[in-house]
């Protein structure tokens, strides 16, 4: 017979340790994001004008799913880690069979009238799989290239599949999550040198043989931004103008002309930050960037307080997910990085993106709530009290 105690342990929910800081930070970002989407789509055609409403629906759904994810003790995810990973890979393969073709790449699977983007969720499955691997392989000495081979393979399979879609941005996020997680572990310095050298050889080959023309073009635009303002440099240029026009205090909510007069492309998906910067200016931007920075630092703090390797890697992985998304997107929009299609967490419109981030936050919450675990014996006493 299953006792109440066992049930309580299955959920493992110490109620008093709810992480309000994490919750409020994420909520603040989500609320600002919706308000900004309202401004970004207010002028656009009818087809876009209800995007912010959809975003609210997705946030609510994501919040519920995130709560569910947070409530289930993360050690169950550890147990099911490779299974979840396998499901993710299956969906990625399905994309090639069922995928919808948009602007030359297939990233979506249609479910009813909704598009579902498996590569978004794959990020979380990858984090779980990496966490499980590191959890199962505790070490005190530095790791060599041999020890990294398996996690590299775990990362490589989805990255390759996503690159084939092709979706450079998401593939890069996978890669950088892996790199971040690697940085968490102790690696032999010879191995690091080896990786850097082989990357030096591999990247030019990749540029020549594997990059799509449009991807090369974006990087060339980044390297020489003023060369072709009307053509491929158009997006980057107008995003910069919008941000710059914000000045100290911004033009005011829904007053930015670059956005209101349609000079910003993809203002709801990849460039919402430009809209925000134009409306709210440098002060607003500082608040927003601080929120993202704080969220990432808080994830590191959660990792540091995690009581096992799985939880720590999980927190670092989700932190890396938010960090790289934010840095790539902000870097791209402000023109310090080339244009790669990476969303800004909780700011960009899009169901899969919002769900992924909120599920990730759920995982963070999960780890955070279980940080006071000390020893199996104490657990019993703690739980018996609750």
């Amino acid at each position: 017979m299953r006792s109440r105690r066992d049930q309580a342990r299955f959920f493992g929910m110490p109620r008093d340790s709810f992480d309000w800081t994490l919750f409020l930070t994420a909520s603040a970002l989500a609320v600002i994001g919706v308000i900004n989407l309202y401004s970004a789509t207010s002028v656009a055609r009818a087809a876009l004008s209800d995007i912010y409403v959809q975003q609210v629906y997705w946030l609510v759904l994501g919040g519920i799913l995130g709560a569910v994810v947070a409530v289930i003790d993360y050690r169950h995810y550890e147990r099911l880690g490779y299974l979840l990973y396998g499901v993710g890979i299956v969906f990625l393969v399905l994309v090639f069979i069922l995928g919808k073709d948009i602007r030359g790449s297939s990233r979506w699977i249609a479910i009813g009238s909704f598009g579902f983007q498996p590569s978004e969720f794959m990020k979380l499955f990858l984090i779980i799989a990496l966490a499980k691997y590191l959890h199962d392989d505790p070490r005190t000495e530095a790791r060599s290239i041999k020890d990294l081979a398996l996690p590299a393979l775990i990362t490589g399979i989805p990255t390759f599949l996503i690159l084939k879609q092709p979706d450079l941005g998401t593939a890069l996020i996978h890669l950088f999550i892996f790199v971040t997680v690697c940085l968490l572990t102790r690696i032999r310095w010879q191995t690091i040198v080896g990786i850097v050298v082989s990357a030096g050889i591999f990247i030019p080959l990749w540029w020549t043989y594997m990059m799509k023309d449009y991807q090369k073009q974006r990087i060339e635009v980044f390297l020489n931004p003023e060369a072709n303002l009307l053509g491929s440099g158009w997006h980057a240029h107008h995003a910069r103008v919008a941000i710059g026009a914000g000045g100290w205090r911004g033009q005011g909510f829904m007053q930015g002309t670059q956005n209101q007069f349609l000079f910003l492309p993809d203002q709801h998906s990849d460039f919402p930050f430009a809209v925000f910067a134009e409306d709210w200016g440098f002060f607003g931007c500082l608040v927003l960037v601080s929120l993202y920075g704080f969220l990432v630092l808080w994830a590191i703090r959660i990792a540091a307080t995690a009581k096992d390797r799985f939880g720590a890697v999980l927190a670092i992985g989700v932190g890396a997910l938010i960090f790289w998304h934010a840095v790539f997107n902000l870097g791209m929009v402000t023109g310090i990085l080339p244009v790669v299609g990476v969303t800004l967490p909780l700011f960009s419109a899009g169901g899969s993106s919002v769900l992924t981030i909120l599920l990730g936050i759920g995982l963070l919450m999960n780890v955070s709530m279980r940080r006071f675990w000390v020893s199996p014996t104490r657990t019993t006493s703690l739980l018996s009290r609750g």
């Binding site: 147990r79 103008v241 349609l262 440098f282 931007c285 500082l286 670092i316 023109g335």
Partner: protein, 727 residues
């Protein structure tokens, strides 16, 4: 359940790393904040300016070119609307766009077929247009040519325009735009003097907009390009359209409009807020011109010349130098050249005109030079009289020829013994050869120059030819050999190297008629604003006064009277008893063209003489001088003189009709009638019952009891008798 949960593991491997990761994250966001500082604060003002410029577009406001009217207020040149159809490729043929399905779920139907049907495109044109649209829509991003309108049809007929407008809903992407095109209601009439307009050519444009023009400041631009020429602008190419361009053109205005990234205009308070002052500059319409030409007279000239293929007629007011008709044949229809019907048609028209051997593009009244023939004789006679080298009563014997050394100079008839009057009336060459022998070339040239022959008149409309009155020094330069007396003889009868333009001759005969005053020819009488107020009125201008004794002038005038009115006169057979005309016929040799060297028919035609008649009327108190030239027309008395008679008759008929009308209008409204003297105000309202046509501008015929009008001081024109004042 506890077996489900894996035991907690050691996290010591990670412990030292968190600080570094946190530092990296902090730095990364710090870099982004720094970049934001750079963009928003350091360079914020520049970007704000760029953002502002992005949404503000200066739209030029078109101006209207001035209207040209004749002396009676008839419109000779104005602007009409030409309707062109523009298509936006991406909207006409959405199926050609690559991303059509991706962007919107709604299937947009192609309107191409419907549009092609409406525009009556033939299968070939349809094919070409479809290819053009597909080529434009290879990409369909925001700035692709797929969204740029293309010009499909120019100058559509009204019914097609109406159809396109009526069924606009079915023709997505098609737009009718109207464009002003110069319109000449009188077509060929006055084509040379009016000229035509055309699109500004690259060379002229480069003069106004040299490289780097866009970078100049507003003032420098104004200096470089005061009329604001831009690509595709319409400019006057010849005639009044060209020489009065700066008046006719007007000044374009501009207006700032708020525009979005797709080039759509935005209105409403949100958009207005972005406009900075000044937001608009009104266009200045071009000035209207009032010409001295009387189109009705011009038309009668055209009728009179109908039997001949080439020639020129000039009718000038003897008292003012104002040109009443200026006709050059063959002519052209400036509507064909002014555009509207498409560039291809214009090119065709030009090709046809420039290959025509009769040179329709040449304004023969002022750009063409011809031997004046016998019409030059009065000036030779004046040269002799002035220096008292010959007594007008002394008779010379004409045997029909005169030999000088090996050369024989011929006369048309054997005239027997003739004095000066008879020599002019009967046009005896021998008398003038003998006269020239004693007078000499340079004296003849001096008198001819006194009357403005061989010099540009300064009309300033079309490129003017100077003609030539040769002198001994000219011959010395031109012919290295010995000076031959034959040169002088030929000069005296308007042959040899002597050439004039019909305009010069008309002004010279006007001077013969008015007592020696050579006027500057005047074609534009006044500049007016578009609502009819006179901006600038041009009084007659005296170019020079011929230094000729009045009694000598009277003697030659008398001889010119005899040409028409005495039975031995060359023009006597074609005279009109009702007219008082004094004039001189001329049959100018043009040089023999060997039939072998050319097409025989053409050679025959080109060998024929030019027929001239130069006259003024009425003989005793001249009002107009008329010069008729029929190129290769043959004999002056039989070909040119009747035309001149007809023109003179028409002039008097028109003058009389206008005098009656003026009397009617003046009787009803006395004070305004006085304004008619001025001739340029359009405001006198027609009296009830009077014709709505503007009041005549010409002074009524002079009072027969008044002072003879042929000796007036031109600057002090006596007020014409106002018939309204007489009871």
């Amino acid at each position: 359940m506890s077996n489900l949960l894996v035991p907690r593991s050691d996290v010591s491997e990670f412990r030292k790393r968190y600080r570094w990761l946190a530092l990296v994250a902090f730095l990364a966001f710090g870099v982004i904040a720094g970049r934001l500082f750079q963009l928003q604060i350091v360079r914020g003002a520049d970007y704000a300016q760029t953002a502002h410029e992005n949404v503000i577009r200066r739209v030029t406001l078109p101006t209207t070119r001035g209207v040209v009217r004749d002396s009676q207020g008839r419109v000779l040149a104005s602007s009409r609307s030409s309707f062109n159809v523009l298509l936006v490729p991406g909207r006409v043929m959405p199926s050609a766009r690559p991303s059509r399905r991706a962007r919107s779920g709604v299937e947009e139907p192609d309107s191409f077929t419907r549009i092609a049907d409406t525009l009556r495109l033939n299968p070939d044109e349809r094919q070409r247009l479809a290819t053009r649209i597909r080529d434009a829509c290879v990409t369909d991003e925001d700035r692709s040519p797929c969204w740029r309108p293309i010009l499909v049809r120019e100058d559509l007929s009204r019914d097609i325009v109406a159809e396109v407008k009526q069924h606009a809903a079915e023709m997505t992407g098609a737009e009718v735009v109207s464009q002003p095109v110069r319109y000449y209601p009188y077509k060929n009439q006055g084509a040379h003097l009016l000229g035509y307009t055309s699109e500004i050519d690259a060379e002229t444009l480069a003069k106004y907009r040299p490289p780097g023009y866009e970078q100049l400041s507003a003032e420098e631009r104004q200096k470089q390009n005061p009329l604001g020429y831009d690509q595709g602008d319409i400019v006057g190419a010849t005639g009044v359209e060209r020489s009065w361009e700066s008046y006719l053109r007007g000044q374009r205005g501009w207006e700032k409009r708020v525009v979005d990234a797709r080039g759509r205009y935005r209105t409403g308070p949100e958009a207005e807020r972005l406009l900075d002052a000044p937001s608009r500059q009104e266009p200045l319409p071009g000035r209207d011109l009032r010409l001295t030409i009387d189109m009705e007279l011009q038309q009668s000239v055209e009728r009179a010349m109908r039997a001949h293929v080439a020639g020129a007629v000039v009718v000038v007011d003897v008292r003012t130098g104002r040109l009443l008709a200026l006709y050059s044949k063959p002519d052209f229809d400036p509507n064909d050249l002014a555009g509207g019907s498409g560039k291809e048609r214009i090119r065709e028209a030009f090709n046809k005109l420039y290959t025509d051997p009769l040179r329709p593009m040449l304004d023969k009244t002022m750009s063409g030079v011809f031997h004046p023939g016998s019409t030059f004789k009065p000036f030779s006679a004046l040269a002799a009289l002035e220096d008292k080298l010959i007594s007008p009563y002394e008779k010379e014997r004409c045997d029909g020829y005169l030999s000088f050394g090996r050369r024989i100079f011929r006369c048309a008839h054997v005239h027997g013994k003739v004095d000066m009057r008879e020599a002019i009336a009967e046009s005896c060459n021998i008398y003038f050869f003998k006269l020239a022998e004693s007078v000499g070339m340079d004296r003849i040239a001096r008198v001819a120059n006194e009357f403005g022959l061989g010099q540009k008149t300064g009309i300033g409309v079309n490129p003017e030819a100077a003609g030539r009155i040769p002198t001994r020094s000219w011959y010395a330069l031109r012919y290295k050999g010995q000076f031959r007396i034959g040169f002088t003889l030929n000069t005296s009868i308007g042959q040899g190297a002597t050439t004039v333009t019909p305009l010069q001759l008309a002004l010279a005969y006007a001077a013969l008629g008015n007592g020696g005053t050579v006027y500057s020819p005047q074609l534009v009488r006044a500049v007016e604003t578009s609502d009819g107020a006179v901006v600038q009125d041009f009084p007659p201008r005296v170019r020079q006064k011929a230094k000729i004794a009045p009694e000598n002038l009277a003697r030659v005038s008398d001889a010119l009277y005899a040409v028409v009115n005495e039975d031995k006169g060359t023009a006597y057979p074609v005279r009109d008893r009702t007219l008082e005309v004094a004039g001189k016929t001329g049959t100018a040799q043009t040089g023999y063209v060997n039939p072998g060297s050319d097409d025989p028919k053409k050679a025959w035609y080109l060998s024929r003489d030019h027929a001239w008649f130069a006259a003024y009327s009425p003989a005793k108190a001249p009002e107009i001088a008329v010069v008729v030239l029929v190129e290769h027309g043959g004999s002056g008395p039989t070909v040119a003189a009747p035309i001149a008679m007809q023109v003179v008759k028409e002039y008097h008929r028109l003058a009389a009709a206008r005098a009656i009308k003026l009397a009617a209008a003046g009787g009803a409204k006395k004070p305004e009638a006085k304004d008619a003297k001025d001739g340029v105000e359009r405001k006198p309202a027609p009296a009830p019952g009077a014709d709505s046509e503007p009041l005549p501008r010409d002074p009524p015929p002079p009072d027969p009891n008044g002072p003879p009008a042929w000796l007036p001081d031109p600057n002090d024109e006596p007020p014409p008798a106002d018939p309204g004042d007489e009871p």
